[in-house]
Every structure is written in structure tokens, then in C-alpha cells.
């Protein structure tokens, strides 16, 4: 097809692209949609439900129909609006949602079956048998009714994010936005001007009207040049502001590389969070159509879009046949005039209003309506009902002009309710929207160019006045100031289907059915029919649907309701929201100081919160993890084992009142702790439940180091800060985390003292000089500052040795080397778990938020001689009367496995909640005992030693007979610790 004259395309360059495998040519400045129309392609896809042939409807982000899959392979992106896809050389696009070719879609049979597929049909139809829903009905429906398909390949592109700060964000670069940005820029405010288009100008680009007697592009270019010269103005094209969030934060996606064949090394898109003190919403307006019978054929478009294609992209509506316009306002006539000026033949303007007059040399059918169309894959003819009877017009395209809906979306975030303007027949932004957001121009119902320019300026001045900027009036060009005179004609009644929402295949009949089914409130209407959902969010449908429902209910449109718009304004890729990092860097992770050593020594790692910890170390010949873990456990019990325990939280506590502070935090007494000693400590929540345990080491009179569990390092520190700052601000106490600062290695086992003796610089490790629960600063390995704690999680003679983190790796290597003759063995979290279960120490599985001190056998630790957080509440009746106790369990048959999570029952008792006696919290295979063992909370556990009970695991249908034993499987007297 021959392109029209003019337009904003670069005819000196040709871009080659393919659609459904066929090669076409376009120019820089084209979108995929404009290039397809210029090549005479009207049919671009199939509809969602009925698989009806569909074409391009709009020229912007409101496009409901022309959804294509862009690019190939891993970069294939389904549901891309052809109207927003900037053409580049080598672009590959294909249509979607059809079986067989686009022209002969086998699923078009759905259209014949449409009487069965009315709104809500599957809610009623696919109810029985129940099991069929997931296995049969849903997959079948999803296959038949869908849009594009994902490649299911990993996204190969990179994304990034950033933060921008501005005094004024201007959303939209049409006449209102440009006037606002110019005034604000000249006033010295920091301005960000964002537009989803790749070119500034907004609707000005689509119109033929002159500004000050010259093409609008001249004014746009002059404003653009000035804005670019101002250091305080930043222009973001290809950037959609998709949502308004709290405190003046606007979400924006910049399509950095979507207009290129591949991003190269650059990111594909950037997610910007724009912090703006004020914003001007100059988002323009979207034209609405008028539903009539069979109004969805390719070639039937919005009249304003048709005009945009002619004026901006120098293309007709994909046909050389004559074009007709169906309108209820003057704007439709404007399209006819512009088309004719570009040489497009106009068959007629069909105006639904009475008493209208021709505005040019074309055939006018006043008081007339389109009542039918023909053309299987593209429009061939329309039937028109006039006051003088019906007529058929042979046309290749039809422009429909139903009036303009202001783009109130962003003003509706934060639950701002649009209000109905009965004169303009449109919803305009109301009160209660995001504070600091000022609508201007067409999105505020001021849609002529002259109005928009003036309003943009006025609103910018108003917005900036609050901030102390005196924005002077900028000279505005003289522009058209037409009014559309839209008549309240919302659809053409008839028996055949008339589409309201093209994307979701919702017709006037569906709305009537919703009315009949009493789905009348607008939110019900939406969900019942799926109107307004999917990628276009009903931009061309919602208001029309409300009008149809209003007509059916006999109410006014505002009485019928408004829809609430939520972010995002247009579809936003999950890739850009996620930030692009996948795999190991999907989220930040923390590595222990011995991570690289462990990796080099066969460690398998396990995620523990953000930490990567060594789970076990596989030695040559070990084929099952249990072999490694059993070996590690036995090595600790027999010789010496080494475990990186850096991940345990460490909080440095100093100050004159440090002792008082800690005494109030811990349930047990801390005030009596001597310098150079460590005490086990239990912390309770305010409600008396145990929440963390650890140790407290007193390094000096006014200096302590508190350790926490790995999981609670953050929460304990946070709660300590809360106590310090809010509960007891009068105390002189200072806190800081030192978790990362020190590499801490547990040296555990009967040979641990001998091993450490080889590293310390003349420090006396004898039992007398450094007894169980002692601590001291010291130096090791020729002068390295270190801290030594004689504490044990394993039940063995054990120490924890801390050095500056940078030395953790070397210390581990040195301990292994120095302890080679003792069989020094690194052990991971699995062995750590086995050792502590054998010793009966509570850990995260026991401290699950339901546990009291007495349940873990530490009831006496909760001091009654002092007050501490949770102590009084721990003595309330409900908690104090709890008789469940942590006990050990051993299977009667040593070959049986104790399964954690199993519930406990008296033998022979029914397996129900009423007879539940407790549950197994932790279990492991104990190489020391020679069988599986477990820890459990058991009702009246203290008095049931020796009893055989049943551990039931109904999820797997298993039951094991277990004997109740004390929770200490190893060294119940604690002699080894003190050796």
C-alpha cells in the first residue's frame, strides 16, 4: 500500500520486519501497528473467548485487541500491544490465541457455540464431578480461552532499578504536560517529565491543528530543546508512570531497550521510584467506542486512532477502500476531514445526533446508526439505519467516535473516586485521590488544545506555589478550542452481539445477563463478566459498560457506580519488578568467614535464613549424607570437631547500667554473673512465652557480649534496642551488633583443650584457671587478638574461639592442621543438630512460639526474685498449669525411625485431637545411641519415664512405638562439660 503524505516517520530509512513469518517494510517512527496498517494488514489476532478475527482498534496503550507475541525464543513476549511496540529492523511478531493459521482458526468454532459461552457460563456449567475441575475443565478452558503463551525459558535480559527525586513530576508530555514542565523548568524547580511514548507531544502528534499557525511539531521541538537545555529538567520518554504510592512515590517503568533488536549489554527496562513533592497528571484522554452489532471486525477502529494513523504515521486504516465514520460528537467529523485531507476516501459520516451539519465535503447521514457489519476477516460493508430506512455502505474501515474518557486512573489510586461530569459526559478526577497530584488538561476534562495548554500552566503554577516557587506564566501558542458536543448515545440496541470489551469478549448481551442475574453493582458486573480485566484494564470499555448497565437499571451513570483503578496503569513485566537477579543472587546471602574453606573441603551448604552454612562435609567414599553426619558426630564425641558458629547473633552491651539492663531482659538472673564468666540465658516475650536462648558473657564490669540463636539475631537485637530506647531510656546502656565482626569457631570434644593449647599464646586453659562457662580475651597464633568462651552445645568439653572475621579462614585451617593427630574434623549443621538432640538442648524446633520455660525444663530459671520481660506473665494460670515437658523418645524397635512432627498418643487411645498427648519436635539418628531418637513435648512428661507410647504420623500412615526417656541421651550428669 502507498503511504499517505506527511507524518512523523523517517522515509529515508527502511526497516524490515515480519508478522506471522511474512516480511514487511516500515520506517523509523512507526509502531508495529502503524507499519502493519501501512502494509494493508488489518487482521492481527483472535479474540479471547470466541476466537473472533480482530484488528487494531487504537493507537496507544489503551489497545484492547492488537496483542501479539513479540520476538522469539527466550525473548518472546506475549500480549504485547502492537500499538506500543516501536518498530526496529528485524522485528519479529506473530499473532496468538489460534489453533491453525490466523485466517483459519479451528477454535473459531467457539463463536458458533457462543450461546453456551455467555458470561458466567463456566461458573454454572463445570460443577460436576468436582474432581474434573482441576484435571479436565480448567486446563481445557484455559487452552481455549487465553491470550499469548510464555516461552517458559529463563528471561535472558537484565533489568535495573533506581530512585529519582523531583519537586514536580509531570506525567504525560502532551500540551498540558509540556506547558507544565516548561513553566516549572523555567521557575527552577527540579522537574521530571515522563511519557510512555517515544516522542514528546502526546495527542498533538496525532492532530493536524496548527499552533500559532505552524505545525505543532515546531512548538514541541522548541519546548523540548529548552527543556533539554535546563539542568533542572529530566525527560524520560518510553516511561510509563504506572502507580501512585505512599508519600509521593510514583512507580515508573522506562523501556530502555525494547525498541532495539536486543539490549546488548544494557538493561531491557528500568524500574524507577520517583519521589516527587508534587505531580501534574497530564495523562490525556482515551476515546470510547459505541457498541453496535458485530462491531469487532478488523477495520473497525476508534476514529481518533484512525486520525492519528493518518496524521502521525501517514497511513490509512489498512485498506484502500472507502472509510466511514460513526460518531455521536463533532470529533468524528474532524477525523473525516483529516482523512480526506490526506487523500483517504470517506464514504460517509454517520452521526447519531439530530440536527447536525456537515463540516466538509462528505456525505453526512444524520440521526443514523450502524446496525450491522459484514466481512469475515476484515470489514467489507456496514448496514446503516437512517430516518429514511436502512442502507448498506461498502467500506473497508469504520472509525467510531463515542466521546473521550479522561485518563483518571492515577488520580483514582489511593481510592480517589472519579466524579461524573454530566455536561462533558465523562468521569473526571474527584477529591480524595493521592495528595500532591494535580490533574490537568484532557485528563481533567479540559480536552481542547487551548484548554489543555492553559490548564497545564495553571496547574503547574498552583502545584509549585505550595513549594515556594513563583512559576511565571509562559507564553502559550494560539490553539484550537473546539468542543466535541458529545451526545449521550452509548450503544446501538439490537439482537446481535455488540462488543463492549473487546479484550474479554464482553458484549451488551453479557451485561444484560449480568443485570438479569442480579450482578448489578459495578464490582459484581466486572467479576461476573470479566469486563475491564486483562492487559488493557477496560480503558476503552469500562465507562460504556457502566452506561449500558445504567440504562438497564434505569439509574444514572454515577448512581450505577465507578470502577476503582489500581496500579499498574499498563502491564508491567515481573522481570523489571523483580530486578533481574536470578539464581544465586536472587536474594542477598551471607557467607561465613570459613565459607571458602568449607567449599574447598567438601561442604554441602544449606540456607539458614540469609546465611549459607556448611551442612556436612563429604569425604571420599561417602555416598549418603548420613555417613558423613554420623562420622562427624562420632568424631566430636571421640576426639575434636570444628564448627563455624559465626552466624549466632552477637550483641555488644556496654554502659554503666548494662547489668541492670540485661537483668531486665533475661528471665534468669544476670546481675550475679562474674566478670570472666558466661551464663546461659533465656529470654521471654512479653506474654511469658520463651522466644530465644543464648549466652551472656561478662567481659568487664560494664561490658557484656550477648549471643542469640542464628534465626533470632535480628529480632533480639531489635527488641534490645526497643527496650533501650523506649522502655528504659533512663538507663545508660549502649548496644551494637558484632555478629559479623568475629569469626567464631566451636572447638568441641574431649581433645579440644589439648588442641587449643597448641594455638593460644601462653594462656592457661586448665580446668582450674579456665573452668566451664569461663570467658576471656586473649591472643593466639603469635599475637592475634581473640576471645575464648568455654561453652558447649554438644555436651562435650568445648570452647568457642572468636577472632577478627578476616582470620576465620586461616584459623579453621590452622585448627585442622594442629589437630590432625586428634582426628580434628569439621562438622556442619546436621551434626550440630544431632549433637544437641543427643544432649537434649532446645533449639528453633522447640522454641516455636508456644513454649514456656518449664516446658523445656527451665522453669526454675525464670526468676521470681526480680522482674524481667515476660516473667510475671509466665506465671499466669494458663501457662503455669501446662504439664507438657520436653522428653526424649527412643523407638522400642531400634530399627524404627522417629519422625518429627508425629503426634503422641497413649497406646490404644483413639488418634484424635481429644486424645493428643503432644508432638515430636526434633529427631535424628544418634550414632551414640545406635538408633533414631527424638525430642518431644509430652503431657505430664515428668511422670511418664519408661512408658511406651505411640508416635503417629497420619500424613504417611505410619505409627511407631516409642519409649519415653530423659531428654539427655548423652552424659546426663554433665561430667564431660566440666572435664
Amino acid at each position: 500500500m502507498k503511504r499517505l503524505s506527511g507524518g512523523l516517520i523517517d522515509r529515508s530509512q527502511h526497516l524490515s520486519f515480519t508478522f506471522n513469518g511474512k516480511r514487511y517494510q516500515g520506517h523509523p517512527g512507526d509502531t508495529l501497528a502503524s507499519a502493519l496498517l501501512a502494509n494493508g494488514v488489518q487482521l492481527v489476532g483472535r479474540s479471547f473467548k470466541y476466537h473472533r478475527p480482530r484488528g487494531i482498534v487504537a493507537a496507544g496503550s489503551e489497545e484492547p485487541n492488537a496483542l501479539v507475541t513479540l520476538r522469539e525464543g527466550a525473548r518472546a513476549e506475549p500480549n504485547t500491544r502492537a500499538t506500543m511496540a516501536e518498530l526496529y529492523d528485524g522485528l519479529v511478531a506473530r499473532s496468538q490465541n489460534h489453533v491453525g493459521s490466523l485466517n483459519f482458526d479451528l477454535l473459531a468454532v467457539n463463536d458458533l457455540l457462543s450461546p453456551f459461552f455467555a458470561a458466567g457460563f463456566y461458573y454454572k456449567t463445570f460443577m460436576w464431578p468436582r474432581a474434573f475441575w482441576e484435571k479436565l475443565y480448567e486446563p481445557a478452558i484455559r487452552r481455549a480461552a487465553g491470550l499469548g503463551e510464555l516461552s517458559e525459558l529463563p528471561d535472558p535480559d537484565a533489568y535495573d532499578r533506581g530512585y529519582l527525586h523531583a519537586d514536580l513530576l509531570v506525567i504525560g508530555a502532551g500540551p498540558a504536560g509540556l506547558a507544565a514542565a516548561l513553566a516549572a523548568g523555567r521557575a527552577g524547580a527540579r522537574v521530571i517529565l515522563a511519557d510512555e511514548d517515544f516522542r514528546l507531544g502526546g495527542r498533538l502528534l496525532a492532530e493536524s491543528d496548527l499552533l500559532d499557525g505552524a505545525p505543532a511539531t515546531e512548538w514541541i521541538e522548541a519546548v523540548k530543546a529548552e527543556l533539554e537545555s535546563l539542568p533542572n529538567v529530566r525527560i524520560l520518554t518510553r516511561t510509563v508512570i504506572f502507580g501512585v504510592y505512599d508519600h509521593g512515590i510514583y512507580g515508573a517503568v522506562e523501556r530502555v531497550s525494547d525498541h532495539l533488536p536486543t539490549p546488548g549489554g544494557a538493561v531491557r527496562q528500568t524500574l524507577w521510584r520517583i519521589v516527587a513533592k508534587r505531580a501534574v497528571l497530564a495523562a490525556g484522554a482515551t476515546e470510547r467506542h459505541i457498541p453496535f452489532a458485530d462491531n469487532d471486525r478488523p477495520g473497525i477502529m476508534l476514529a481518533g486512532a484512525m486520525r492519528a494513523y493518518a496524521n502521525r504515521w501517514a497511513t490509512g486504516p489498512g485498506t484502500s477502500a472507502p472509510v466511514a465514520i460513526f460518531t455521536n460528537n463533532d470529533d468524528g467529523h474532524r477525523t473525516a476531514l483529516d482523512l480526506m485531507a490526506r487523500g483517504v476516501p470517506v464514504a460517509a459520516v454517520i452521526d447519531a445526533r439530530r440536527g447536525v451539519e456537515r463540516q466538509g465535503d462528505y456525505r453526512l447521514l444524520p440521526e443514523a446508526e450502524v446496525v450491522g457489519t459484514q466481512g469475515r476477516l476484515g470489514l467489507h460493508s456496514i448496514r446503516v439505519r437512517t430516518s429514511r430506512g436502512n442502507d448498506t455502505l461498502q467500506v473497508g474501515a469504520l472509525g467510531v467516535a463515542g466521546g473521550w474518557n479522561p485518563n483518571v486512573h492515577l488520580a483514582s489510586h489511593h481510592r480517589g473516586r472519579p466524579v461524573w461530569d454530566g455536561e462533558k459526559l465523562a468521569f473526571v478526577p474527584g477529591q480524595g485521590g493521592p495528595s500532591g497530584l494535580f490533574p490537568a488538561g484532557a485528563c481533567a476534562g479540559k480536552g481542547s488544545t487551548a484548554e489543555a495548554l492553559a490548564d497545564g500552566l495553571r496547574v503547574a503554577q498552583e502545584a509549585l506555589a505550595d513549594l515556594g516557587f513563583a512559576a511565571q506564566a509562559v507564553p502559550l501558542p494560539h490553539a484550537e478550542s473546539r468542543q466535541d458536543n458529545t451526545a449521550p448515545i452509548w450503544h446501538v440496541p439490537g439482537k446481535r452481539r455488540a462488543w463492549v470489551d473487546f479484550q474479554n469478549d464482553v458484549t451488551v448481551k453479557d451485561i444484560a445477563l449480568a443485570h438479569k442475574e442480579n450482578m448489578r453493582p459495578v464490582e459484581h458486573l466486572k467479576r461476573w463478566t470479566t469486563l475491564g480485566m486483562a492487559t488493557d484494564q477496560g480503558k476503552t470499555a469500562n465507562v460504556t459498560a457502566l452506561a449500558v448497565m445504567a440504562e438497564l437499571t434505569g439509574k444514572t451513570i454515577p448512581q450505577t457506580g465507578t470502577t476503582i483503578f489500581r496500579p499498574p496503569y499498563t502491564g508491567v513485566s515481573l522481570g523489571v519488578l523483580g530486578g533481574g537477579d536470578t539464581g544465586a543472587h536472587f536474594r542477598p546471602r551471607r557467607l561465613t568467614p570459613t565459607h571458602h574453606w568449607a567449599k574447598a573441603n567438601g561442604a554441602t551448604f544449606v540456607e539458614v535464613g540469609p546465611w549459607m552454612r556448611a551442612q556436612y562435609f563429604v569425604r571420599p567414599g561417602e555416598t549418603h549424607w548420613r555417613q558423613s553426619v554420623d562420622r562427624e558426630v562420632l568424631a566430636v564425641r571421640a576426639g575434636v570437631g570444628l564448627c563455624d558458629v559465626t552466624t549466632l547473633g552477637k550483641v555488644d552491651v556496654q554502659g554503666a547500667d548494662a547489668t541492670v539492663f540485661l537483668d531486665r531482659l533475661y528471665a534468669n538472673a544476670m546481675a550475679s554473673l562474674k566478670v570472666g564468666m558466661v551464663r546461659y540465658g533465656l529470654m521471654l516475650r512479653e506474654d511469658g512465652t520463651a522466644y530465644d536462648d543464648g549466652t551472656c558473657a561478662r567481659l568487664a564490669e560494664d561490658h557484656y557480649v550477648v549471643t542469640t540463636t542464628t534465626a533470632n539475631a535480628g529480632p533480639v537485637y531489635r527488641n534490645m534496642e526497643f527496650a533501650r530506647q523506649c522502655l528504659w531510656p533512663e538507663l545508660d546502656v549502649q548496644l551494637i551488633s558484632t555478629t559479623d565482626a568475629w569469626a567464631q569457631i566451636a572447638v568441641a570434644g574431649p581433645k579440644s583443650r589439648e588442641l587449643l593449647t597448641r594455638l593460644v599464646d601462653g594462656f592457661d586453659l586448665s580446668n582450674e584457671a579456665f573452668p566451664f562457662m569461663a570467658c576471656a580475651p586473649l591472643t593466639i597464633c603469635g599475637g592475634l587478638r581473640a576471645r575464648l568462651f568455654r561453652i558447649s552445645f554438644s555436651g562435650e568439653l568445648a570452647y568457642e574461639l572468636a577472632v577478627p572475621a578476616r582470620y576465620g579462614h586461616a584459623l579453621m585451617a590452622r585448627l585442622m592442621e594442629a589437630g590432625a593427630d586428634f582426628g580434628a574434623t569439621p562438622y556442619g549443621t546436621e551434626a550440630l543438630g544431632v549433637l544437641r538432640i543427643e544432649k537434649g538442648h532446645a533449639a528453633g524446633a522447640e522454641l516455636n512460639g508456644q513454649t514456656t520455660g518449664q516446658m523445656i525444663g527451665l522453669g526454675k530459671m525464670v526468676s521470681s526474685k526480680k522482674d524481667a520481660i515476660g516473667n510475671i506473665m509466665s506465671r499466669r494460670e494458663g501457662l503455669a498449669a501446662d504439664k507438657r515437658l520436653l522428653v526424649g523418645l527412643q523407638p522400642v524397635n531400634p530399627a524404627d525411625t522417629v519422625v518429627p512432627g508425629s503426634h503422641l498418643f497413649t497406646q490404644g487411645a483413639p488418634r484424635d485431637l481429644a486424645h493428643d498427648q503432644g508432638w515430636i519436635t526434633s529427631a535424628a539418628y544418634s550414632p551414640h545411641v545406635g538408633s533414631s531418637i527424638g525430642l518431644a513435648f509430652l503431657e505430664d512428661g515428668a511422670n511418664r519415664m519408661g512408658e511406651v507410647i505411640t508416635a503417629a504420623n497420619p500424613l504417611q500412615g505410619s505409627e511407631v512405638a516409642v519409649r519415653v526417656v530423659p531428654s539427655h541421651f548423652v552424659d546426663p550428669e554433665g561430667g564431660r562439660l566440666r572435664a
Binding site: 537477579d581 545508660d732 577472632v803
Partner: protein, 184 residues
Amino acid sequence: MPDLSPLCALGAATPRRVTHGALTLTETPDCGLASLALRRDTPPPALDLPGPGRWQTADGLTLIWTGPGQWLVELPGAAETDVATTLAGKVPGASITEQTDGWVLYEITSSAGAAPIERFLERAANIDLTRFAPGSATRSPIEHLGTYVLRRAEDRLGIWGMRSAAESLWHALDGIAARLVSRG
């Protein structure tokens, strides 16, 4: 000197350094760090202490405000020493804790003035650049990780992050710098 060899936070014996266009990122393991918190009812130290959002140098130290009566103190070149004892000599009676190996320091320098630094920063952190002139310091998350960001000069940043997450923070910062080059 101890007969053990330290490792840098990124796991190598020598610090990592990379250049992307005008920006150079350098792991800086030799700077000591300590926290300083004034105790109640003790006279303020003789040091000139910066207020909220600021850092400043005094007596060979760089002090970074971190909260009411609290600072982080950089002791350049002193990472291998007992910085708490050193600082206690200068600020007697305060609560001081060694922090050197709690953190990793990345210095980011520009060979082309302020612009690359500012483009980098707007992608890294939610910081208003007009209020972040040299002398500014703030606590800000970067890629979900808590950091202290210092504007050391128009063309230079210092970023302190959690040592255990050094690799993740480097990945984030390195990625931002690399993508800036690709974007042009």
C-alpha cells in the same frame, strides 16, 4: 604479627578492584572501624563530632553520625590493629566496640567528575542527590542490604556494608556500574 594470613571480605588474599567506564570500585580492607557511643552524663569528647547526615574528619579519624550520641569511626590503615583501644585513648569514658570486620568498605571513584557517581547512586539507593553533597553520610538499603553511604567528594563514594554479605553487595554495585557503561 600473628602467623595467620587474613582474607579480604570477598574471599581473596588481595582486595578486588574493577573499572567500568569512568567508575572504579575498590574493596578497601585496610581501614579500621569502631563504633563510638557517648555514655550518659560524661563530658563530650574533645573531638569535633558531625551531626545527623554528616561525616567529618578529626584527628586522623573519620567520624560518621549514626544516631543520637553515636558514630562510626574510620581509622584509615588501622584494620589490623586493636582500634577500640586506640579510639578509647582519644575518647575516654565512651562505649567503643571494634567493628572493623563487621563491615566491608567499597570505595567508588569516578574519573569523570560527579556525573558518573550521581548516575551510579540514583540506581543504588533512595538518596536525594541535591541533599547529598560531599560531607554527607546516610544509612540506606542497597539491594535489601543495610549500608552506610558516604559522599567523600564530588567524584567519590565510600559504601560500608555487612561483611558477611560482601559478595552480594559487590554483585549489586558491580552490576550497577557495568550496566551504566552498557547503557551509555
